[in-house]
Subunit: 117 residues, 2 copies
């Protein structure tokens, strides 16, 4: 079993009253890219239909242009894919997460000395 990380970092990008992007939305975009289906993506993440729709709707109103587009010929005849903007948003968000993780890795490791055995 892989050792679980010492530090969890959760990053969210705000847009008005809601979050345009966060870990759940990024995972959903990634799963849509991988499965080429919104329904399959939700299933892969164990996310309810309504949760999936809710996250997609929050992204729809937050970004300048669509991140997800319908395709033909996917599972059950109707699939989905990321737009170019969707790909870029996902990559940029993952880069932000990585940058934060790299920046604090040593500080977090130092913190370990305070913890009980």
């Amino acid at each position: 079993m892989a050792e679980r990380p010492l530090v969890y970092i959760k990053i969210r990008i705000r847009h008005g009253e809601i979050y345009a992007m966060g870990p759940g939305k990024a995972d959903l975009l990634q799963a849509i890219r991988d499965t080429r289906s919104i329904a399959a993506a939700g299933r892969q993440l164990g996310m309810s239909y309504w949760k999936t729709r809710h996250l997609l709707e929050e992204m729809r109103v937050s970004f300048r242009q669509p991140l997800v587009t319908a395709t033909r010929g996917g599972e059950q005849g109707g699939g989905a894919a990321l737009t170019d903007l969707g790909d870029e948003v996902l990559e940029r968000f993952r880069a932000i997460e990585r940058a934060a993780g790299v920046a604090i890795a040593d500080l977090a490791e130092d913190f370990r000395t305070f913890l009980a055995d």
Copy 2:
């Protein structure tokens, strides 16, 4: 009214099955330092008695030595203060939060161009 930040970063330090430190625990330590009372700290944060006790208990079992100590002469005869370790843990955690924020500030600002007006 101050503009709300574009990015929220939540950092938690894990210890075994629980979190040794996170935003709520750091705020509690800070409020104890400011108010010199566990009860007053909880009130200041709008935190229930049980929540306050729960966070203190999680910190108690996570760190090598106590972060909080009882004092005499505080509010209602019994106060509290941070130990030297408590001060150091709080400062180090805030430094980790700041380091993450600094590291991603520019990337997050770039991300803003994707967002709807």
